[in-house]
């Protein structure tokens, strides 16, 4: 069985600018994978290359077992793609768009379509041009879900939406999660944290890590050491200890490879005068801030 998304050294240059820099990515079947990163990190470019909207400069990618360069036409009968930048045919009405799309998909489910229309409160007789941004995004999502896609790819779907609409979209996504793999890009960590099973972090075109959410939150810990007497920071410290700071008798850092026993052993070796050690779990936001600061230091 192929992984829904697999890339190998995927690279995209725009002239001298490297937008995507040798990405190796694996999205397992059934995952709800969040590709996160700051604006301009290369998330949209990565998705466009995966969807064969633009060609890769180097490397390769397979989508549902098909080389991404061959993703076109019938391939999209299994992929639901929604992007905040997509130009929906605004001259159509909501109902006529859904009716038009029905014939393109052998797996289109009219009952599911009805249910999504109801769930998203879409008015079939409304012109798309007259819809708000949130309603357009709901319509796009409804049209991308109604045919039971094997892979759902969403590029910044929640940008600028009010919390109510956002929750509705997330809810409908979660309902589909059992039958589909979801690949979603976002720069809003709070919304991703609540439902993602996997996460990848993109920084300046480079994928800094890609792993299961549970493993990520388990391996990052904020460590606080109380020493007596206060001493300067020993050197060298393990490379996985990020942003070490000493303030009087207190030493703080973030361990990016936390393992209770190993971390304690390292602390005892380096801080013989440690009186107390505390480990605190980090939010996704705190983890990314730490990663972003680390890459900024480099």
């Amino acid at each position: 069985m192929h992984q829904p998304i697999h890339t190998q050294q995927l690279t995209k240059h725009f002239g001298r600018i490297t937008a995507v820099d040798g990405i190796n990515l694996d999205v397992p079947e059934g995952a709800l994978y969040a590709l996160v990163g700051q604006n301009g990190a290369g998330k949209t470019t990565t998705i466009k290359v995966l969807m064969n909207l633009i060609p890769a400069t180097q490397g390769s990618a397979t989508i549902l077992g098909t080389d991404s360069r061959n993703i076109r036409g019938k391939s999209y009968a299994q992929i639901g793609y929604v992007s905040e930048n997509q130009e929906i045919p605004e001259w159509m009405k909501v109902g006529s768009l859904l009716e038009y799309l029905r014939d393109f998909y052998p797996t289109w489910d009219p009952a599911l379509e009805q249910s999504l229309v109801k769930q998203f409160d879409l008015h079939l007789d409304r012109k798309i041009k007259a819809l708000s941004r949130g309603m357009k995004m709901k319509l796009a999502l409804a049209s991308a879900l109604a045919f039971h896609p094997r892979l759902i790819v969403l590029d910044e779907p929640f940008g600028g939406l009010d919390p109510l609409v956002r929750d509705q979209l997330i809810e409908s996504l979660l309902e589909r999660a059992a039958e589909s793999t979801v690949f979603i890009s976002s720069h809003d960590l709070a919304e991703i944290e609540s439902f993602s099973s996997h996460v990848g972090y993109l920084e300046s075109g480079k994928l800094l890590f890609s792993e299961e959410m549970s493993s990520l939150t388990t391996r990052f810990r904020e460590v606080e050491i109380l020493t007596d007497p206060p001493l300067p920071l020993p050197s060298p410290l393990p490379a996985t200890w990020l942003h070490p700071k000493s303030s009087g008798a207190v030493v703080r850092f973030i361990d990016s490879r936390f393992d209770d026993q190993n971390t304690r052993t390292d602390i005892q070796r380096l801080f013989a005068n440690a009186k107390d050690v505390q480990f605190r779990a980090l939010s996704l936001r705190a983890i990314f801030l730490a990663m972003a600061r680390k890459s900024g230091e480099v």
Binding site: M51, G73, I79, Q86, P89, F104, Y105
Partner: protein, 537 residues
Amino acid sequence: MIQFLHIFKKDVRRHWPEILISLALLVLYTRHELHLWQLSPEYYSISSFFFDFSGRYIPFFLVLSWIFLILRVVQGETLVGDRQWWVTKPYVWWELLLSKLFFLFVVIWIPLFNVQLLLLVHARFPILPNLGRLFLIQFTFPLVLFVSAVALASLTRNLPQALLGIGILVIVLIIGLSLGSLSTHMMGDSPPFMDSLELLLVFGSIVLMPIWQFARRRTGASRITIAASVGTATLLSLIPFASRVEQSYPLLATKDSPAQFTIPPIAESLGNPSGIPDFISDTLLSIPVNVSEVAPDSVVLIDGMKLTADSTDDSHWTRGWVSEYRQVWPGTQRQTLSYVVKRKKYEEIKAKPLNLHIQLALSEYEEVQARTLILPTAAFRDSDLGICRPAFIRSQSLECRKPFHSPAYMGRFDAPHSSCEPLRRFPNEYPSNLDVAYAWAPPTDEIFPDPGLNPIVDYQVIFNPIPRIPDPNSTAPVEYSIPTLCPGAEIRLGRPVFKRHFRIELELPAIRLQDLVERATLPSALPLRRRASSRGV
């Protein structure tokens, strides 16, 4: 439903206003074309303004509406960019392309084809014998128009981009024409393979690139390929093939030439002929040539000319072969050859005595299947000419119409022996010989129709009087007579058959270019003096 029909239905639903506009213009065009042959002189005088206006502008707006419709329908699923909604839907590229072509077929081509059938029937030409060529005519103007518009639409994102594309194309054409004016050329001097190559490059790229664009959406590469193909074809078309002219037109000795050419004494200009306005960048030389001994039932055409100037200081100058289009009939006494010299060059050498070496590329045609046609009073049907009638106003021409192309013909009208009264004007410095007038249309590729929308070609058989040499000793005003056709007039009609190409040489020694300058560009009162000598070889 089959995908292309599904997309087609959506396009019709979306573009119905544009479809209605193009159909309305097609109706107006049809109405105009139907009335074209039915006009009476009264109709002309009363409604001529409206008729002229509609005749001139409706075809333009009709074609414009088609281009607009094609741009709109193809750009409905634009192939340019990466934000299009449809690109990530299960569209099959060839079904999308097929849907757009089917749209053109149904919305533009079928109505046009029906109009063409109607025009054919209305002009009283049968459908069945003409059906094959009616299909062939679709491969001329309509095909070129549709393919070009589809190519433009597939390589641009929206109407402003398409307009920009047209603008760039116009600039390229202007540059091509400017380059063309710098190089010298003669019609048909390039080898046939070169013409085919140019056609293949241009047409091949505008057919293949949109297909590739539909299949792969590689806009940049497609645009570059088309631009490179058009650029290469333009450059190829500018290559002069002088040696090919000389190969195609073998040199004949004077005695073997089917027409004798000599250069008469040239009048020497006494004044300063540099009174040509400064803004004129070219100088037109006029070289009179006396002609004689053209065989009866034949015509000699002057296709091209090459002028080489040698001066006493051993400098040598030529522009190469340039096109000419002159007819030399039996009885023709005089023709005037025109040759353009760049103003700068002219000013440099105009007063120097030069030895001019003139080569003429000529073609000889013979008349076959000659017959006599007595003009009836009303419109008549002729197996070669189609349906003809004398022009409304007393004139030297017949108005004719025929499906798909005007025929080749050689016509002769013996004006003095007819009862038709000629038109006379005088004085005129280009006198004509009333003895006989000739009409001519060269043989063409009769299988392929003339490009156009209307399958009926309206053309005129014009009987032109042949030029004659004025009597230098006469002081009386010269009569300029135009033969007119009238019912009962006898016309001799035949088909021209190509006999041969050939080339002759003429020498014009010790001449100053300023003595050859086109009189129209000189001050009218410039005194002229007859030169002593010049001769044909």
